[in-house]
């Protein structure tokens, strides 16, 4: 039913993503789908990487590691945004469309009062993406 599962990943928070990651891996496994890890990075140095190139290498390493460990076809796509604070959702939506994913699995948080004003990334993706979105709380 699904051929390509997109898993947006924030490499600084990998340890918070275990439940969503497991869900994505299980679904990919079940449907014999490819899993594609998408990350959005800023143009400036961060704790994770000095530049977008280094970030991409780390993301690819992460994707390879997950693919090998679970016997899945995996890929990575690093997207650069000059203003990730605001444009992460927009960049992710463009990536989902671009990469031709047909299922998005994403970690999100339980909604708080603030979400009525500023929705979390998962909420926005679920509201706007053309494909199925599975939010894991």
């Amino acid at each position: 039913m699904y051929r390509k599962v997109i898993f947006p990943v924030d490499l600084t928070h990998v340890d918070h993503l275990s439940k969503a990651l497991q869900t994505a891996l299980d679904l990919a496994n079940h449907y014999k789908a490819e899993i594609c890890f998408v990350g959005v990075t800023g143009t400036t140095p961060s704790a994770l990487a000095h530049n977008p190139k280094e970030y991409e290498a780390k993301l690819r390493a992460f994707a390879d590691e997950q693919g090998t460990a679970h016997g899945l076809k995996s890929s990575a796509s690093a997207r650069i945004s000059p203003d990730p604070t605001i444009d992460t959702d927009k960049t992710l939506l463009a990536a989902i469309e671009d990469l031709g994913g047909d299922l998005v699995v994403m970690q999100t948080h339980a909604p708080t009062a603030l979400d009525y004003v500023w929705a979390g990334h998962g909420d926005t993706i679920a509201a706007r993406a053309n494909v199925s979105v599975f939010l894991v709380r």
Partner: protein, 560 residues
């Protein structure tokens, strides 16, 4: 989305991958971007802020505002005197430093260092030329050109206060025009002296800061914050108090520079509105100005929430379009042919007088050199952390040569065109109708600088429409400044992170509006603006060190 870093530093050891061969020369430091950040939660808002830069900056700014409000009569003269003392005692230093920055930029431009690409050899630009140029111009001097475009050339042409450039003869004395040859000479001096203040020198100041920030962030891998420039000089110590102080000073200069300009700008804009729409006494109370501050802050807030692409960039492009429209209009209905021929003469005069105008010693034109040039240099320098940081933010992927061409040479030409058209038209009105002209009334017989532009426009056709466009331009330029300024302050106070929660930017936008409104209501705008301009002196020293760091940093980069 908020709690991170501490635990993640263990899961993500600092095993930075070795850089692909020759892409750029990463500085090897154990410091990680955001390692000193704290992530408190205030109500539903998660923050990600540098400790202690965020808290100190906030507290220092708040304290200054309170003290200024409480002791206005003592503080006001203190800061104004301080600024006066700095510009009159250190004028030679400011002028010398300005010359040094121009020479450094031009030297880099023509040397092989110009081939270095910001972001490493494979980086591609984030923005098109048009979008990039619109943003750097809006941040750099859009608002200044609106204010001084008519004022400055007319002032130098006919100042009755004896502060003409190089002590040359002025073109109009006691309301009587000099002979044609003397008028032409005075006009050329006035234009050269004006373009000098808006040409190579200010842009070189911005270029040095912006280029250094971009180089040390994109190529060397250090956080995008002012302290990073000084790594070659202070080494690992920049992560401690020397670096904190540099960053806090940058926040201080930026926030006060912006807030006080916003307050004074709102008064000017409301004076313009009163003039155009015939509302007498609009500035008798602060109501109109406070409403304008609220409107500008509100628009900046929307722009901030729309991000760089959807906010500042769009506004800058709209402004660029409007400014070109206004300029084309003045050119067409003004003395078109005269202006076109004058442009080359003005540029020629600028280049032939630049030596005399920028000479730091042995001059007698104290009023011009100290009151205008040194003041401007201090002003540009105090704005340079803000403008430089913003330019750096949008310049990744350009080569150093492209960068200097677009940040130094092209803006100089654009400023010269602007000054020729606005100043040239005003001087033409002055020559034709002498003391009957509106600009004579606002600049020479009385001094009402905020109305000089509107005075010039009032003598052209469709004055109501063009003046309204001018007011919109002024307001939108303030919105872009407030927006890009908050972006910069947020990045510095988040230790160089550009993905900090959006609530922090919202905080700085509102804080800036509140500071402006408080000072406007309570008094002290001019005093604190003097204080922020005074930061120009320490920053001038800091920028000279930055030149050294910049060249040293560029030398170790691959040139591909």
């Amino acid at each position: 989305m908020s709690e991170h870093d501490d635990e993640n530093q263990q899961t993500e050891p600092s095993d930075a991958l070795p850089e692909p061969e020759g892409a750029s020369d990463i500085i090897d430091t154990d410091y990680e971007v955001g390692q000193d950040n704290i992530t408190p939660k205030i109500g539903p808002f998660g923050l990600d802020i540098h400790n202690p830069v965020f808290l100190f900056s906030g507290i220092v700014v708040a304290a200054f505002v309170i003290i200024t409000l409480a002791f206005q009569n003592q503080i006001g003269p203190l800061f104004t005197d301080l600024r006066g003392f700095l510009t009159s005692s250190f004028d030679w230093f400011f002028l010398m430093a300005g010359n040094l920055f121009v020479l450094v930029c031009l030297g880099i431009l023509v040397s092989p260092l110009g081939k270095v690409r910001l972001g490493g050899v494979d980086a591609t630009p984030d923005y098109s030329y048009a979008g990039w140029f619109a943003m750097l111009f809006a941040a750099g001097m859009g608002i200044g050109l609106m204010f001084f475009g008519v004022l400055e050339p007319v002032y130098y042409f006919g100042t009755p206060w004896g502060d003409q450039p190089l002590m040359r003869d002025i073109g109009i004395v006691d309301g009587v025009l000099a002979d044609p040859a003397a008028v032409e000479a005075a006009r050329l001096t006035a234009m050269a002296a004006t373009i000098y203040h808006w040409g190579l020198h200010p842009w070189a100041i911005y270029a040095v800061v912006a280029l250094s920030l971009a180089l040390f962030a994109y190529n060397k891998g250090l956080p995008l914050t002012v302290r990073s420039i000084f790594y070659p000089i202070f080494g690992e110590r920049i992560w401690g108090w020397p670096g904190h102080i540099i960053d806090i000073l940058a926040v201080f200069a930026t926030l006060f520079g912006l807030a006080t300009s916003l307050g004074l700008g709102a008064q000017q804009a409301s004076a313009g509105i009163g003039f155009v729409f015939g509302i007498d006494g609009i500035n008798d109370t602060v109501t109109a100005s406070v409403i304008l501050i609220a409107v500008i802050t509100g628009m900046a807030l929307i722009s901030v929430l729309r991000g760089l692409d959807g906010g500042v960039k769009v506004l800058s492009e709209i402004n660029m379009g409007l400014a070109i429209l206004l300029m084309a209009f003045v050119l067409l209905v003004g003395p078109t042919l005269t202006l076109v021929t004058q442009f080359f003469g003005n540029l020629g005069a600028y280049f032939s007088e630049i030596g005399a105008l920028s000479n730091p010693i042995g001059r007698e034109d104290d009023g011009y050199r100290q009151g205008w040039t040194a003041f401007y240099w201090a002003w540009w320098i105090s704005w340079s952390p803000f403008v430089g940081m913003f330019i750096a933010r949008v310049s990744r992927g350009r080569t150093v040569r492209e960068f200097i061409t677009c940040v130094l040479l092209i803006p100089t030409i654009v400023s010269a065109i602007w000054m020729t058209i606005f100043g040239g038209t005003a001087i033409d009105q002055l020559i034709n109708t002498v003391s009957d002209s509106a600009v004579y009334g606002y600049v020479i017989s009385a001094y009402v600088p905020e109305l000089s532009l509107f005075g010039m426009l009032s003598e052209l056709p469709l004055a109501a429409i063009t003046s309204t466009i001018a007011i919109i331009l002024v307001i939108v330029f303030f919105v872009t400044s407030s927006d890009s300024g908050s972006l910069v302050i947020d990045t510095i106070t988040a230790g160089g992170k550009i993905n900090a929660p959006v609530s922090q930017r919202v905080f700085w936008v509102i804080f800036e509006g509140l500071v402006a409104a408080a000072l406007l209501i309570g008094g002290g705008l001019a005093a604190l603006q003097a204080a922020s301009v005074s930061t120009g002196l320490p920053f001038a020293v800091v920028l000279i060190l930055a030149c050294y760091a910049l060249i040293k940093g560029l030398l170790s980069e691959p040139r591909g």
